[in-house]
């Protein structure tokens, strides 16, 4: 069975919400639609207080090449454009809409019929994806249209759909693969057409046998897309690790995935692309998991973007008494929620409750030089050394030891028997080193 070649760890799976079918989460009374839902410049609102909007109506334009438009997820009256705090506590601009009814723009095809015929030409597909505000839903929320337009001189050879979902607890991609497998495959086929490639892969980890079986059942209909079963290992879903696992090519240091001929898109993104291109539906809904051993209920929701997290917590049984930390995303790379009233975003993938026992950091002790961090690092770095160099502010040495290659997967901190917060220090060091590298005059 295939997997990536260097490092990796095996955190407990904990996919306890895997059997909860996706439910439609009720439309909120007030939606807070953030302008910063993607990597890159925040979108610029084009509505003002008092405007009436419908579900799916464009409310903000992209502000630059790496940016994405934002559409309303509800119908009602715009209350205003406010500065709100996101879930990590950072300020961002948001369009606040008082909800009235649920009236969709007429152009969206709301039928359940699966449309498999791809009518649009490659250029039109990319334009459509950009217009519909599709962003990568695997975590980084990079605008999908940009990723589907390789820079001049670079040529895509194949598309890889990321169905690894290697983070413990998360099950939203799994549910999509089980409930809407054909839509995901059509989404993949659309992106393959846009890229002009004839070969596609869907990488799924072995712990999702049902999804693998269902996808393989579509082989005769979509023979150009190969389903690849991957060994369970974190961080398989990392872009670089997935390419290595599926086709055995490694993205060069400081390079882009396209340097190996690969374009990687998440399962959720493929589904969003399907809806955008075949159903004319902008990205204003997302699939998210509500889970944790202490959670009152295990849920997978389709939520409207802009729904306050606190509302979702309330409907799904409330914040458990013993929850010490609430995470948006997986336990390895997710963000700890600082503001439970923050709204959901396009890329919000989960609310995960962890108890103090599960998540509280233990006091750090001496490094015993066990080299477990070196063995675990999927990028072949020496976390113990980078930690030391970053703490000592030895930026030149940190750069020489490739601190900039760190993907911040957290394997080192996870595995450290002395509970040293390796990634905390490396992350700071990496940011500083990257800043220094950028400030140098280009040759």
């Amino acid at each position: 069975m295939k997997t990536f070649s260097i490092g990796g760890v095996h955190p407990a799976d904990n996919k306890i919400s895997a059997d909860a079918a996706i439910e439609q989460f009720p439309v909120p009374e007030v939606a807070y639609i953030s302008m910063s839902q993607h990597l890159g410049a925040p979108a610029e609102p084009i509505v003002a207080a008092g405007d009436k909007v419908k579900v799916g109506q464009l409310i903000a334009n992209p502000a630059g090449f790496i940016s994405a438009p934002v559409h309303s997820s509800v119908s009602g009256t715009v209350k205003g454009i406010e500065t709100i705090k996101d879930l990590a506590g950072n300020f961002c601009k948001a369009v606040v809409i008082e909800v009235e009814g649920d009236e969709w723009v007429e152009t969206i095809d709301r039928s359940a019929e699966v449309v498999s015929e791809i009518k649009l030409e490659p250029k039109a597909i990319v334009d459509k994806i950009k217009e519909m505000g599709i962003v990568g839903l695997g975590g980084a929320t990079f605008p999908t249209g940009v990723k589907l337009s390789p820079p001049p001189g670079k040529k895509a050879e194949f598309l890889i759909i990321n169905g690894a979902e290697c983070e413990p607890y998360l099950t939203s991609d799994y549910r999509l693969l089980v409930e809407c497998p054909e839509q995901v495959l059509i989404g993949a086929a659309i992106m393959m057409k846009a890229l002009g490639v004839t070969k596609g892969f869907v990488g799924v980890e072995e712990n999702k046998p049902k999804a693998i079986e269902i996808l393989k059942g579509f082989h005769s209909k979509y023979p150009q897309i190969e389903i690849v079963t991957l060994k369970k290992k974190y961080p398989q879903g990392g872009e670089k690790q997935l390419i290595d696992a599926v086709v055995g090519r490694q993205v060069p240091s400081m390079g882009l995935p396209i340097d190996t001929g690969a374009v990687v898109q998440n399962v959720g993104t493929a589904f969003a692309v399907y809806e955008a291109v075949q159903k004319n539906k902008p990205l204003f809904e997302g699939i998210m998991t509500v889970t944790g051993q202490c959670a009152a209920q295990q849920k997978n929701y389709r939520h409207r973007v802009g729904t306050p997290l606190s509302k979702i917590m309330e409907v799904s049984g409330g914040i458990p008494e013993n929850a010490a930390k609430i995470i948006s995303g997986g336990p390895m790379m997710g963000k700890a929620i600082n503001n439970i009233d923050a709204p959901t975003l396009k890329g919000t993938s989960s609310i995960l409750y962890l108890t103090e026992e599960q998540t509280k950091r233990k006091p750090e002790s001496n490094c015993i030089r066990c080299a477990k961090c070196v063995a675990a690092c999927p990028m072949g770095l020496e976390p113990f050394l980078l930690n030391k160099l970053a703490k000592a502010k030895r930026w030149d040495d940190a750069e020489a030891n490739k601190i900039y290659d760190c993907i911040e997967c957290g394997c080192c901190s996870f595995t450290c028997p002395a509970y040293i917060p390796l990634l905390d220090n490396i992350r700071l060091g990496k940011a500083t080193v990257m800043k220094i590298m950028k400030s140098r005059p280009k040759k």
Binding site: I6, V251, S253, K325, P331, A336, I340, I368, R369, D405
Partner: protein, 329 residues
């Protein structure tokens, strides 16, 4: 209002921690301890108790009164050193030798550098070598395990197979003559019981510990295997060149502190390299130095010195040998 924890990722931690790892090393050493108690009875138990008490006490005292840090004796690392020290000494040695060994091992080799994780040399080995150099007679007076190592070695009672063979070779005998005259040196005997320090007497017990360490993922096999392979290859070349003058490679692997050293001392986290490639270089260095010292040096056994010499090279190996980076394919 409920207070929530907020911190950067990752938000969960794996199973491993220092205490568990060190405890696993102690568990892996238990078969060897059991065998030595079986053969040497009360004297082995006495040595173990003295080693434990003195190692833990020295660490506790230094941590409390000199370093003024938190108590560290619960992390099991001093226990590992104590058990290793006990297995490294002749079971019949006087108890105060063990106390001196513990003071040197923990006090000088470990705590002087700042405690666990900071030391350059393996503490138990420093203790052993200090004693070997300071009390050569006591440290090389070995008791024969009762009932196992037949009457054939009566004449050389008190010498380890390595010392015995070396002495005989020096007196002009060929390897064949020595082995024919001493059936007690056969492989099967070496596997189960032989003359030596408490930890040297049973190869099987040590190998069980090795399998346990690998199964529990406490260590990776790189260091141990590269020691064995390099000893086998180097000793094999010598043996092929002149089988009358040099003992065979399997004898080299099964005798002396080879197994105890390669499984439990060379693999010490703190004093071994961080990368697989570095660990292989480290292991090969130990293997070659051991055979060199055993064959051409003044001492019959050389693995303690070989490990300590290679310990000193570790910082250099760490500086120049880097792991295989991602993106070089």
């Amino acid at each position: 209002m409920k207070q929530l924890l907020v911190s950067p990722s990752p938000h969960v931690h794996g199973e491993a921690n220092t205490r568990k790892l060190m405890r696993d090393v102690v568990i892996a050493l238990l078969p060897a301890v059991a065998v030595s108690i079986y053969f040497f009875g009360f004297s082995a138990i006495k040595m173990l108790v003295v080693a434990l008490v003195s190692c833990l006490l020295v660490e506790w005292l230094i941590q409390k009164f000199l370093l003024k840090g938190e108590c560290t004796i619960c992390d099991w690392s001093a226990t590992v050193t104590a058990v290793l020290l006990m297995l490294n000494l002749p079971p019949a040695a006087p108890w105060w030798i063990m106390v001196i060994g513990a003071v040197v091992a923990i006090g000088i080799a470990k705590m002087t550098f700042g405690g666990l994780g900071q030391n350059l040399f393996n503490p138990a080995l420093v203790g052993r070598v200090f004693l070997l150099v300071s009390f050569p007679v006591i440290m090389t007076t070995w008791t024969t395990p009762e009932g196992w190592f037949g009457a054939s070695v009566d004449a050389v009672s008190g010498a380890t197979p390595l010392a015995f063979v070396k002495e005989a070779l020096k007196n002009g005998a060929t390897v064949q003559e020595i082995f024919e005259a001493n059936p007690g040196l056969s492989w099967s005997q070496l596997l189960f019981a032989r003359v030596g320090s408490a930890g040297e007497i049973s190869a099987i017990a040590l190998l069980i510990g090795f399998v346990y360490l690998l199964a529990r993922k406490v260590i990776r096999p790189h260091i141990t295997l590269s020691i064995w392979i390099s000893v086998f290859v180097f000793a094999g070349i010598l043996w092929l060149a002149n089988p009358a003058r040099f003992v065979d490679p399997v004898f080299q692997l099964l005798t002396g502190g080879m197994l105890l050293g390669s499984i439990f001392m060379a693999t010490d986290y703190v004093t071994s390299p961080m990368t697989p490639k570095g660990q292989i270089i480290f292991g090969c260095g130990i293997g070659i130095l051991t055979v060199l010292i055993r064959t051409f040096g003044a001492y019959p056994e050389g693995i303690s010195f070989a490990i300590l010499i290679m310990n000193a090279v570790v910082p250099l190996i760490n500086m120049y040998v880097k792991p295989k980076r991602f993106g070089r394919k």
